[in-house]
Subunit: 266 residues, 2 copies
């Protein structure tokens, strides 16, 4: 297995080659720093219009980076040489919303009616926050970001509906405006916060018990900032119980050739 420190500096193309050869099957956080990573959702064509519509209606939790036509497994926009059947370290295969198996490649599962959706990931905006000297607590504490199911409803589309899941980062009060400005530039990776302050206002009851990820330290006087989270589309898809669905295994993302900076606006 390749050394992780080295992986932070090699190119996305080389990272994907290592993954394809089976030489990297761990999470991709910190890998090929500076390049955007993406969540993957693969659905049979009969669900594709509704899911695309769901993403159009809910761009903050579901920021689409690229959608491939039915049967297509090579990206055009995120990379010119990737094969999404082999270039992700681990895949989850779900049947009727239930996790059936976790696999290293999905060539054997591939179908001509599969539509692949690649969605932006908060790694991109966290890098921008860190560059601006804004502390990111779960990174400091070497944990997963805490994620909570809110009572903010997503706009439904066909079979897809459900509450928005958010990630939370506690910030010193003098960093909240700057963090809002910075993440606002990254609409393609969840964008600006959806809520700042009192968690109960969005239906979060217990900060110490996140629905996904790990609880983090909240220091006296810090302000809680909540962003829409990429777990939302996965939760929504599982709830809709499609016959078959393939996703990346959480944390094991697609590493694209797109620089985070290329995703920024203004």
């Amino acid at each position: 297995m390749v050394n992780k420190k080295k992986l932070s500096q090699i190119t996305p193309k080389e990272v994907r080659r290592l993954i394809r050869k089976g030489e990297w099957n761990r999470p991709t956080a910190g890998v090929a720093m500076g390049y955007a990573q993406a969540n993957l959702v693969i659905l049979p064509e009969k669900y594709a219009f509704d899911f695309l519509l769901f993403c159009q209606r809910n761009p903050k939790p579901c920021p689409l980076l690229e959608v491939l036509e039915p049967g297509k497994y090579r990206t055009d926009f995120l990379s010119s040489d990737a094969d999404i059947r082999t270039d992700i370290p681990k895949y989850n295969v779900y049947q009727k919303g239930k996790l059936e198996t976790t696999v290293k490649e999905i060539k054997g599962f591939w179908r001509d009616d599969f539509v692949s959706f690649l969605l932006g990931c908060s790694f991109s905006f966290e890098e921008a926050l860190l560059r601006a000297q804004i502390p990111v607590r779960h990174i400091e504490e070497n944990k997963n970001v805490p994620m909570y199911i809110t009572h903010i409803p997503c706009k439904p589309a066909g079979a897809f509906h459900g509450p928005m899941v958010v990630s939370m980062r506690p910030l010193p009060p003098d960093k909240v405006v700057r963090a809002t400005q910075i993440t606002s530039r990254y609409g393609a990776v969840h964008g600006s916060p959806v809520h700042i302050g009192d968690p109960s206002k969005v239906g979060i009851k217990n900060l110490k018990k996140p629905d996904f990820g790990d609880a983090v330290t909240i220091r006296r006087g810090e302000i809680l900032v909540f962003w829409a989270c990429g777990v939302t589309p996965q939760a929504v898809v599982m709830e809709a119980k499609p016959d078959l669905c393939v996703t990346h295994t959480p944390g094991h993302m697609f590493v694209s050739d797109l620089l985070n900076e290329e995703l920024a606006t203004l």
Copy 2:
């Protein structure tokens, strides 16, 4: 027929009521100032995924404001009481890409497999430019904006492909940066320019002969600024020759309840 000056000040709801009753069938420029207007494209469901994908891949020429599920003719986001079969002053009905008829309402044409796409319109950002004292030449000259077919290719999706159509506004050099900043805030209505300067760089040969709209005066020293144009999706749809397609008649837009300012970011 209602007086146009009065229409600039009444609410979108009242405008739509007048249109529905047949008391307004002229262009909607200047109507219900401050509110976003939208382009309409209706396609049978079998084309809907590809067209939605085309819009996702080409957000500057095809900025989606709302997409309705198959058969649905009431909007949720742009208005709570509109019927898109009756609330637009004039509709074009195309068969296999050929204009067959222009009608005042489409209840008689309606089908359960119709999917309606509402797309942002440059009226929204022009209002923002005017508020910032940036001159908009075709408005000064009481003309249609000049539009040109470029050699910039749209990213294709399924049956839909073609070149980007742009609109052009000549600006004094000291207004170009500000105009770029202002329109960058309006990603939902074409957003930032796609080109600034020499028209030949994007394949425009003769400024005096726009492909759509009217030529405008270009004063000595002015810089030409080009924005992606909503004619692009219409041209692309016509080129794909779907069995049936309904659009608004150019200039006769859907008047929404959404304030232009609600579309702005940062």
